[in-house]
Amino acid sequence: MISDGALDRLHGLIANPDLSGTRYQLVSTLGRGGMATVYLARDTTLDREVALKVLDWTVDESSTSRLAQEARILATLEHPGIVPVHDFGQLADGRLFYAMKRVRGERLDRWAAARDVHERLGAFLRICDAVAFAHAHGIVHRDLKPANVMVGEFGEVLVLDWGIARVRGQSETSGVVAGTPDYMAPEQVRGERTVDERADVFALGTILAGLGDRRKPLAAIAAKATSADALDRYPSVEALRADVSRFMAGLAVGAHQESVSDLVFRVVRRHRLAIALVLAYLAMRLLLLSAFHI
């Protein structure tokens, strides 16, 4: 009979990655995704903590190539908003893995719950920067969602999980549906081959809707970004970002046709300090004039 001690040991052999022969020591489990598990490990050579993404050993070949591609993408995208990869290889148990910087911080949605809208939109702009950088390198993330964005102690953002990212020019079979339903553009849900940067614009629009408030221009930006027809969306993440920046600066946004009252409200809001000073000055003058006449 296999003893209880041996049973636990064998189960551990099956479940935990075999890091023998590597520079890493397993510390704990950080999270689990569809095809891989992320572990906290210690890099014994450089004496620092790293995150190890290890492919489950029950996955098929397509997942294996996806992890390899993800590591290559991360190695290509050197940007402060994209987690850097340190190492890639195969463990003694045959599983592929890559080592990346250990990300400290909170998931975007949890972080946002305790922040004002200005801070939230600031983080959103930084997410756009990272995604736009990837697009400039021909890479579409395709799975942007709050769970895949971490916000650090100083508000820095890191876009994670590039496991289903698509590289421009790389052939892909139509009918393959990958992503998270609530954040997927309609053409992505349909598994179309034409999925491009505008699918990320859609996901960012959905994220923006969750981060913003009820002000009409902001809602209009999110609505434009999440248009069902990709042609009605912002043509690029930069265009989306620019509109959000204009909103934050109190300027008119391209996605929203202002009424006169909207215009007055926006101008008053933007120049509220100056208007308050002028009004205070006028009130003072009025007061002095009244006193003189008495």
Binding site: M1, S3, L10, G12, A15, W57, T58, V59, D93, G94
Partner: protein
């Protein structure tokens, strides 16, 4: 105890790299029209489940060892004759859960009707060594198992699964000229507890080899063991979906 395995080709162990594809499923063969296939599937099923069933009946139904042995024999016989395990619908859950539900219903009916149990007759299953199973049960730390029978049954199934995998690994290694590899694996990874577990250096000294050889052989044995576990698991699942779910559950990170 001797085992007979359905459609197992031990030579495939060393050749097949990585993830096993769609393989023969014992569960799917339970309802086969071909008597030989069906019989082989039942043998494999009984081999995998007789011990968890026996121990479960002992605990859940507070059965005496003799009664639990009778029930276990009769349950598999009845399942074979009436083919009710072939009625398993993978869309509705795990086979393991279905089997346990059938077992509970079977024991309840037997007790209610005070029925005399049929223990075999013309049909001879794989040998069930109930005395050994009872001895194991006595040695096991049962603790809260009676309150947590789901977990107990799962753990016993896991013990059986790993036991089958170790048996296959041993056969395949010996056939492939790697007897030393499996010996090292058994000495190190199957040690009862940490106090009896030898170091690599001790094993190397015992076998007159380098510590590096122990490391390499153990790594190879573990790699093969993982592969065999998947193969055995695949045979015990009715569909690829069930297998994927079971394999993912088995591969869930353990406490470090």
């Amino acid at each position: 105890m001797s085992h007979r395995f359905a459609n197992y080709n031990g030579a495939a162990l060393m050749a097949a790299p990585g993830f096993p594809g769609t393989r023969h499923s014992v569960i799917a063969s339970l309802g086969s029209e071909q008597p030989d296939v069906r019989r082989a599937a039942f043998d494999a099923l009984a081999t995998a489940y007789w011990k968890p069933v026996f121990k479960y009946v002992r605990l859940k139904w507070s059965a005496t060892p003799d009664e639990a042995a009778d029930v276990t024999q009769a349950f598999f016989l009845r399942a074979y004759e009436k083919t009710y395990l072939a009625g398993f619908d993978p869309a509705r859950g795990r086979f393991r859960t279905y089997l346990r539900t059938c077992l509970d219903r079977f024991v309840a009916n037997v007790r209610q009707e005070n029925r005399r149990l049929k223990r075999g007759g013309a049909i001879e299953f794989v040998p069930f060594d109930f005395a050994a199973a009872e001895l194991e049960l006595q040695r096991q730390h049962i603790g809260d198992a009676v309150q947590e029978l789901d977990a107990f049954f799962h753990r016993e199934w896991l013990r059986s699964l790993f036991g089958l995998a170790v048996d296959r690994l041993r056969v395949a290694c010996e056939r492939g000229g790697h007897a030393r590899r499996v010996a090292i694996f058994e000495r190190y990874d199957l040690a009862d507890d940490e106090s009896t577990r030898p170091t690599y250096a001790v094993i190397a000294s015992e076998l007159g080899i380098d510590v590096t050889d122990v490391t390499n052989e153990l790594a190879a044995a573990r790699r093969d063991f993982r592969r065999v576990v998947l193969e055995v698991l695949r045979e015990q699942c009715a569909t690829d979906d069930e297998f994927e779910n079971e394999a993912r559950a088995l591969g869930s990170p353990r406490d470090l």
